[in-house]
Amino acid sequence: MKNWWFIRGLRKGVMTEKYPKEIAEWSTEIQGEGTVNCPTNAIKDGKWIKERCVFCRRCYPNYRPNLNPRIYTINKTQPLFKRSFYLYPIDSGTCGGCNMELKLISSPEYDMTRFSIFFTNTPRHADALVVMGVMTEKMKEVLKKAYEAMPEPKVVILLGACAISGGIIGEGVPLEAVVEIPGCPPNPFTILEALMKVKGK
């Protein structure tokens, strides 16, 4: 029968990957040399400042991506969440890309639930507040309330260049985060590994 979903799922098999077979190159680390005119000033003295990069490719061919997706910055880890980590995403001004990439970490290739990472529908049950997008006026109050509604212990995660530094659109979100995941939008593998590192492998 065409809608015996359980049999279908079994027949499809396991699709989870330890490391992605293909990674889109313009979401990985950039290196090179020379002076270029970067629209967000993400290249200074030959070094690439990942928090500001929006991957516009204007620095090509002096600077190229080297397919290393581990471009996150971990400031602190919280090993309490090792067995169970609930995320509450809040969008304060995205273009929709970060929302979609965050949703894709639950797809079978990445499968976030095998690392006990889950999404929740209310900040009262959340361990981490995942903030995406530039800071907009009306969302300041909402962000504050969401943060206050979360119980201790809680962490804040900044996702995407817009949240960390404002990217090319506006201003970043002025919150202190345990991990910053740059990218425009970040690769799901980058996001997943960053979350794994935060909660302790």
Binding site: T122, P123, R124, E141, V142, L143, K145, A146, E148, A149
Partner: protein
């Protein structure tokens, strides 16, 4: 009020059988309502005399020892109530409906008494007076086989609150008293009739609770709850009749006690609830004001009427369902299915009754109520009724119940377990005293272990914005209204959808209309003012008379 106190004391002294319980119940209700009425006088000078007259009528009914006096009391009880409703109601329908059904019940009772052919209360050999009179009495209790939403909520919903209290609590009690009195006197009762009464009772439990849940009038909600409880009492009465006919003495006693306990529970609790509805200025529950100081009282009353132990309502509900299960077990034949089905319908109805009461007490007093203080006279009767309901739960059964035992294993000592049994075999048991002792003991233990409970206030999370909305009472019941559209038939074009019309009434109305039309046509064809047909009628009558005379 003083006369009520005197009556109460005398009825306790002159305890002569089961029927004097009704006096005890009625007089306690009258005392509570009278205390409340002292400050409840924004209706006019006519309220108190009419109030006293109704109570007088009921007292006469209770103390009568002949049919004539009974009927006199019955009428005296009904007419002042009709006047009170007529003076309060804004249109003519409620008092006329009340009077119409009141007179219908009187006619049926009168017919029953005439068939009985005596003037004093003697033993009756045939069940016919019982059958006819019972139908009269159950009309007074608010039920008729299918007309659920017609007369009682309309009438009781438009009377002043202390009047509604005594109407609901005690006037319907008179119906129960009447049925019980004549049942005790009747020797044989056909099983078919008792089963019919049981079916009527079960039907009314379910539909009374359902219609009450979706109603918007504070007094209407409580009136439907009265119908529901009277249905339960009727089921208990029918079980009494069946067990009397089949001679199962243990169930006979138990069902009689059930009737008494349920009447106690219903009357006292209903008084308290109606008095609380008198504190509201508006009759619509969505626009009601939440009043403080009566939360505990209302919660206890609601828990009693929902069937929670150790209140007396809980004991009564448990007894009712146990009786039904015992019957189905003892009889062991096809009729047992009827008992089980009745039990299922009663359980559904009780569930809806719980929902009904929770909706009522939530929107009139609990959660976020106003800061005004109530005067003591208005506050105490409600609290008192709640306490009576609680205390009676674990004292009264022990005084009047015949089958008790102890289970030392669980720590229930000295005859504190109430048992249900048939033919000397135990079926089930509960112990309300044990429950309340455990409740108190555990509360004290946890208080000593953990200290006073620490309360922390946090801001509610409402999607990140500041608005704090509240579900209205109408919206709370709206999912049932949408799901059961076919039965409830809301008229959604109006501003306030009313549910005065139920499916059965529509069909009966259509049937009555078609009968009337048929009658008109029949009359026109029969008496058609043509001489030839009249001559034929004369000849036919002559032939029939000749045949009858020749045969006889």
């Amino acid at each position: 009020m003083i006369s009520s106190i005197i009556l109460l004391i005398t009825s306790i002294y002159e305890y002569n059988g089961v029927l004097s319980f009704f006096s005890i119940i009625s007089t306690s209700v009258w005392i509570l309502a009278s205390i409340f009425s002292i400050e409840y006088d924004h209706y006019g000078k006519w309220l108190s005399p009419l109030y006293i007259l109704t109570i007088l009528g009921m007292a006469i009914v209770l103390n009568s020892d002949g049919y004539l006096l009974f009927l006199a009391g019955w009428e005296i009880m009904t007419i002042p109530a009709y006047v009170a409703i007529g003076l309060t109601a804004k249109n003519n329908r409620p008092p006329f409906v009340f009077m119409a059904f009141g007179e219908l019940s009187t006619v049926l009772i009168l017919a029953g008494f005439i068939i009985a052919n005596t003037t004093n209360f003697n033993y009756l050999p045939s069940p016919v007076p019982l059958i006819v009179a019972t139908f009269g009495f159950i009309i007074k209790m608010g039920m008729m086989p299918f007309l659920v939403s017609e007369w009682l909520p309309i009438a009781h919903g438009t009377a002043p609150s202390n009047f509604s209290a005594i109407l609901s609590a005690t006037m319907t009690l008179m119906g129960v008293y009447g049925i019980l009195k004549i049942t005790i006197l009747t020797q044989t009762i056909p099983i078919g009739f008792s089963l019919t009464i049981m079916a009527i009772g079960a039907f009314n439990i379910f539909f009374g609770a359902l219609y009450g849940y979706v109603n918007e009038n504070t007094k209407g909600i409580l009136a439907f709850s009265t119908i529901e409880n009277n249905g339960a009492i009727l089921v208990a009465l029918s079980l009494y009749m069946i067990s009397k006919q089949l001679n199962i003495t243990s169930i006979e006693h138990i069902s009689l006690i059930t009737v008494i306990l349920y009447s106690f529970a219903h009357s006292v609790a209903k008084t308290g609830l109606f008095l609380s509805s008198g504190l509201q200025e508006k009759q619509s529950i969505t626009y009601s004001k939440k009043i403080r100081n009566i939360e505990i009282g209302l919660t206890l009353l609601a828990s009693s009427m929902s069937g929670l132990l150790p209140n007396i309502g809980g004991v009564a509900s448990w007894l009712l369902l146990e009786n039904l299960f015992m019957f189905s077990y003892v009889l062991h034949n096809v009729i047992s299915i009827l008992f089980i089905m009745t039990g299922a319908i009663i359980a559904m109805g009780e569930g809806l009754a719980t929902a009904l009461l929770i909706r009522y007490i939530t929107y009139t007093s609990i959660f976020q109520n106003t800061r005004e203080q109530l005067s003591k006279i208005k506050k105490y009767p409600i609290l008192l009724s709640a306490l009576i309901v609680l205390i009676l739960g674990f004292t009264l059964p022990y005084l009047i119940y015949p089958y008790k035992n102890s289970t030392t294993i669980l720590g229930m000592l000295t005859n504190s377990v109430i048992l249900t049994q048939y033919y000397n075999t135990t079926f089930g048991g509960i112990s309300p005293l044990y429950i309340i002792l455990l409740l108190v003991a555990f509360s004290i233990v946890s208080y000593l272990a953990f200290g006073k409970p620490k309360i922390r206030k946090a801001e509610t999370w409402n999607n990140g914005v500041n608005e704090k909305e509240e579900y209205t009472a109408f919206a709370m019941a709206n999912n049932i209204r949408q799901m059961l559209k076919k039965i409830l038939r809301p008229e959604e074009e109006k501003f306030l959808p009313t549910y005065g019309l139920d499916v059965f009434w529509e069909y009966l109305y259509k049937l009555a209309n078609s009968i009337r039309r048929f009658g008109k046509i029949f009359a026109k064809t029969l008496i058609n003012s043509s001489i030839s047909w009249y001559i034929i009628y004369i000849i036919l009558t002559l032939i029939v008379v000749i045949i009858v005379v020749v045969m006889g």
